[in-house]
Every structure is written in structure tokens, then in C-alpha cells.
């Protein structure tokens, strides 16, 4: 192994948070950010901001094994504040490039479905995209999602239910099942 490699295996939690420890999380952060914002240049900006902020605040993280979730929280908060700015400026970034690109990396028979999915997903709110990605893509448990988003677990569950139903209607059409109370 060369010095450039991320540390694999059981030693993934180094005693101190350094470049290498953070670098090991970058591919995941970047995938999450790209799916969240719908285009790669903005996603890379977001990940870079996240890495910088994490390094600047590295001493705030007590438990190095929580690095992954901590980075997600930073990225999430940065995204929320950047969205506020974006809404003020009224900027709109098209998702078409990403949809075409992702369709190309899918097997030919699935390309149409992937393109439609990426477009539909982009129509969801940030909140809904976030919750679907953290559970469905990152495989976080409800509890872990609640920690990353700093929300009560009940809110996580009801938001997830609404997000799924919204996306179902976008993909399949039909009337939306009203999810008022989930308990």
C-alpha cells in the first residue's frame, strides 16, 4: 500500500481526524451531494466546503468513529444555507445533464427508467430528497438519520413517508395518498 491510500478495514477510525480520514468519506459525500443538488459542479463545491469546514473544526468531533455522520451533518447544514442564498438569487440548475449522464452508466434496457427517475427525483423538495437518499442510498437507520439531520425520529419517519408518496405520484401518476399522521 502506498501512502496515498485511504486506510482500509478495521483501522478506518484513526485517533485523529486528518486529510486521509476525511478523504475516505469523500466518494460517498460526493455521490450524496450530486444526487441532492442534481449537478456535479455544485456538488463538488458543496463537498469541498464540507471538507474545509470539517478540517477547520476537527477538534469538535470527540468520537472519530462518528466521522461519517458528522461530515453528513456538516454537508447538510451547508446545503441548507446555500439553498437559502440560491432562492434569493433565483438560480435554477438543470438536472438534464446529470440525468443523461447517469442513464449512460445504466444497462441499455434501464436507461429510460433511470433518466425518468433522476428527473422526477429532482422535482422533490430538498427535505424529501435528503431523507430518501440517507435511508435508501446511504443505508442509514432511522436513528442515524435523526442524528445527521438533528431531528426527532418521529419527524424522520413521517417525512420519509411523505417523500415516498410524493415520489410515487411523480413516477406513477395517480392521486396522492394523504399522509397526515403516521402513528
Amino acid at each position: 500500500m502506498t501512502d496515498d491510500d485511504a486506510i482500509p478495514g478495521p483501522d478506518m477510525s484513526p485517533p485523529d481526524i486528518d486529510d486521509r480520514a476525511i478523504a475516505a468519506h469523500v466518494p460517498r459525500l460526493r455521490r450524496y451531494a450530486t444526487a441532492l443538488v442534481g449537478n456535479r459542479p455544485d456538488a463538488d463545491d458543496l463537498v469541498q466546503d464540507c471538507v474545509e469546514k470539517a478540517l477547520a473544526n476537527r477538534h469538535a468531533l470527540r468520537d472519530p468513529s462518528k466521522l461519517g455522520g458528522w461530515l453528513m451533518t456538516i454537508l447538510h447544514n451547508l446545503h441548507i444555507s446555500s439553498q437559502r442564498g440560491r432562492r434569493r438569487r433565483g438560480a435554477e440548475v438543470p438536472v438534464e445533464d446529470l440525468a443523461d449522464d447517469l442513464a449512460l452508466s445504466a444497462p441499455p434496457a434501464d436507461r429510460g427508467a433511470v433518466r425518468d427517475f433522476v428527473r422526477a427525483f429532482a422535482q422533490l423538495t430538498d427535505e424529501h430528497r435528503t431523507i430518501l437518499l440517507l435511508t435508501g442510498m446511504e443505508g442509514l437507520s432511522y436513528r442515524e438519520v435523526a442524528e445527521v439531520l438533528e431531528l426527532p425520529i418521529g419527524t424522520v419517519m413521517s417525512r420519509l413517508a411523505r417523500a415516498r408518496e410524493k415520489l410515487r405520484v411523480l413516477l406513477d401518476g395517480g392521486t396522492q395518498q394523504v399522509v397526515r399522521r403516521i402513528k
Partner: protein
């Protein structure tokens, strides 16, 4: 206590889909789904959308990283804000060109292109994960012949796989989460021979370890992928690309992956 009379909630249905439903409510939820086909259908669509989510965005994890996202990380000089965006546009063009080349050229030549634009180690491809997950799906449900050679002939299994893969193939023992080695088999994928080991717990749940020789690669961190109900952790080490796949939750899989990693490096 009365799991029978408590009505099933929307939250429980989602928890069921996400594998977070307490076991004592499983029967009630499944009965509810059987009695309400329109609800069952809606949750099947949710399951399908989750699998499309993984299929659509999953491959993004294998994208080459731009320099600014690889260590050493340097703080940007925020006074020069306009400049980086031009740099980014140039990088972006290169990345599109490179990814198209990877797409067109495929295989080994595609990896060379990736290397040229600054990849340090070659991460396992999305195709590798897809192969590992597909093999898991095919063989983990096999009742009579899940493995070609059982653990009772471990020495024979190891010799055979080592010979065919041209690498010393140790047979990593796994004990975490109650999983035990039951045997292995030789498979073939587009790159040549592949070894697969299978582990099973007391409940008959199975996890597979998929190993492909991957010369000229050094180590990589664990990465996570999900395709429908199958989750996988994959990494590279000592000239091998490895993937642990199963329907188990992420913690169980990473426990197994860590144990495999440890066994292969002991």
C-alpha cells in the same frame, strides 16, 4: 402485548420496508398487507423506487475525483472566488470527456484513461459490484447446491481456488453476527475466474464474499453499495477486489467485512 389487535400504522409499514420493524409486529404487518392489496401494492412501488434510487445514483461513487477533492486538502483563498469556477469548468470538460472514454472504451483501456486524469488507486468498478450482487442473488437462494465445495473439504477448496485464481486464496473465517463459512465455488466473470465464499447464520441467512484478482491495485477504503434489498461492502487489497454482499443490515455487513479484511491480513 396484543400484537394481534393493535392496528398497523403507516409508520410500521415503512419500518417493515426498511427492516426496522420489531419482530413481534412482523406477523401483524404481513397480515395487514395480505388483507389490503392496494396498500401492499403501494409499498411495492416504494420498494421499486428505492431500488431505482440505488441504480440511478449508485454509480456516482466510482467517479474520478478532481484534485480539489483529494488530499492534501488546502483551504481555498476566498478572495479569488471567480477564478476557481473557470478551473472547475475546465476540469468538468475533462471529466466528461474522460467518462465518455471510459464508457466507450470500457474494460482495461477505460481504466487507463481514468488513471491518466489523476486517479491514485483504481476503485472497483460499478460492474464489479453488479457482478458480486448478481452472484449473491443467484447462489444465496440455492437450497441444494449453494456451494460447490463444502467447508468440510476446506483444504481442497483453498488449493483449487488458489490455483485457478493464481493467488494464494485463504478462506476467511467469519464469526460475527453468528455467520459461519459453509463453502465456496469458482465462478467466471468478464475479467476471468472469481472465487465466491458463502457464509450462513443459524436462521439460514446468507452472506457471500466475492473475490476477483485485480492486479496492479493497492488498497482502498471500504465502500458501500445497495441494490434493492442486497447491500454490499467492497474494497481492494493486496491485488484483490473483494465484495461482501447480503440482505443483512449495514452494521452486520461491515462487521463481516472487517473480519474478512482482518483474516486476509493476519
Amino acid at each position: 402485548m396484543s400484537g394481534i389487535s393493535n392496528p398497523v400504522t403507516e409508520a410500521e409499514l415503512h419500518a417493515w420496508l426498511d427492516g426496522e420493524l420489531p419482530e413481534e409486529r412482523l406477523a401483524a404487518v404481513e397480515r395487514h398487507l395480505a388483507d389490503n392489496p392496494e396498500v401492499a401494492q403501494r409499498f411495492e412501488r416504494y420498494r421499486a423506487q428505492r431500488s431505482l434510487l440505488g441504480q440511478s445514483f449508485g454509480p456516482l461513487i466510482d467517479q474520478p475525483l478532481p484534485d480539489r477533492l483529494t488530499p492534501p486538502f488546502t483551504a481555498r483563498d476566498h478572495s479569488e472566488k471567480p477564478l476557481p469556477s473557470r478551473g472547475r469548468a475546465v476540469w468538468w470538460g475533462t471529466a466528461i470527456a474522460a467518462s465518455l472514454l471510459v464508457f466507450v472504451a470500457g474494460g482495461a483501456s477505460g481504466w487507463l484513461m481514468r488513471d491518466r486524469i489523476g486517479m491514485r488507486a483504481e476503485p472497483p468498478t460499478a460492474a464489479f459490484i453488479a457482478d458480486a450482487v448478481a452472484a449473491h442473488r443467484v447462489f444465496s437462494v440455492e437450497v441444494r447446491h449453494p456451494v460447490e465445495i463444502g467447508v468440510d473439504e476446506e483444504a481442497h477448496l483453498v488449493n483449487w481456488l488458489s490455483k485457478r485464481l493464481g493467488k494464494n486464496m485463504r478462506c476467511p473465517k467469519v464469526t460475527r453476527g453468528g455467520y459461519q463459512l459453509i463453502g465456496g465455488r469458482l465462478l467466471a466473470d468478464s475479467a476471468g475466474p472469481v472465487a465466491m465464499y458463502m457464509y450462513e447464520d443459524a436462521a439460514g441467512r446468507r452472506i457471500t464474499l466475492y473475490i476477483r484478482p485485480s492486479p496492479n491495485t493497492s488498497g482502498s477504503a471500504f465502500r458501500f453499495a445497495q441494490d434493492g434489498g442486497v447491500r454490499a461492502l467492497y474494497w481492494q487489497d493486496n491485488g484483490l477486489a473483494l465484495a461482501v454482499a447480503g440482505e443483512a443490515d449495514r452494521d452486520t455487513l461491515s462487521g463481516v467485512a472487517e473480519e474478512v479484511y482482518g483474516a486476509l491480513n493476519s
